[in-house]
Symmetry: C2
DNA sequence: TTGCACATGAGAATTATTCTCATGTAGGAT
DNA sequence: ATCCTACATGAGAATAATTCTCATGTGCAA
């Protein structure tokens, strides 16, 4: 139950929070902007203030329920933090997002941080390219 | 000469462009925000419109003279594209930025993109952590 | 059941960046 | 050297994303 998740992180169980969580849970695209969440909730009759969406997402992030990504160009996207850590590759044509995890890269990051005298706490890795969709392949320039 | 660089990429040689390039060249911190560039130029008597700074940086980026980075939290920073590609590690306490290059990571990225059916065109990797400065080490939380 | 700390909605405010437009100028052609 | 014109600039308005303010509502511990 999503109510549990909220209680576990010390947040009151409210309708807006539950709606946002369950939208993130069920939406077809798991990486969503605050604006999209706001709009989709509105369309399905659940009108919630945009400021509330931003507030809730920030709280979810602080609580570790959600992660935030800033892909080049586009606006900030959020996703439910279920399952293990992963990074992303984004199609520069259609915007499609795929996820991946690479043990070697993760390991190298730790080594590099240590070498430079840093205590690693986080990282952001995003690859950009053209995906294998026919429409994306036939672009000029 | 910086005039050469501008001509080579098909941009007219103008005072604002030269000033911005030479500031990027000589500044103590090589990763600078548009705002900082604007302010530092102003302080040294070279008043240039902020819009011009943004425009020039965008053109330099398009021409490959400059790269743009979006570190978490802070605003966009620019740096002169001299020397080979590298990624960054940022101290979450003091904001210090160090650079690194890791052949293994670069190589893995290519493999991963290929596996996912993408033609890799770019990537952004930034590590975050606490640097070895005494002041940064003694923070609580 | 009540009290109150916390949450919400609406809109204003803020911040970073881009756009508009009137004016200036680099640099190729003459 | 002078001219012409496409491109560049500055100032401020405009935009877009996000955050803040504040009056009002509500979860939930006592
Ligand atoms: Mn993801
Ligand atoms: Mn750098
Ligand atoms: Zn694509
Ligand atoms: Zn530090």
């Amino acid at each position: 139950m999503e109510s549990e998740e909220l209680r576990n992180v010390g947040l009151k169980v409210t309708t807006p929070r539950l709606k946002i969580l369950s939208l993130l849970e069920n939406a077809s695209e798991k990486h969503m902007t605050a604006e999209t969440i706001y709009r989709q909730l509105g369309e399905s009759g659940e009108v919630i203030g945009l400021a509330t969406v931003y507030r809730a997402l920030a709280q979810f992030e602080a609580a570790g329920l959600v992660t935030r990504h800033q892909f080049d160009g586009g606006q900030t996207v959020f996703e439910l933090e279920r399952g293990p850590h992963h990074d992303h590759i984004v199609c520069v044509r259609c915007g499609r997002v795929e996820e991946f995890y690479d043990k070697v890269i993760e390991e190298r990051q730790r080594v590099i941080a240590a070498q430079l005298g840093f205590t690693l706490s986080d990282h952001a890795l995003t690859l950009y390219g053209e995906c294998n969709d026919p429409a994306c392949r036939e672009s000029k320039a």
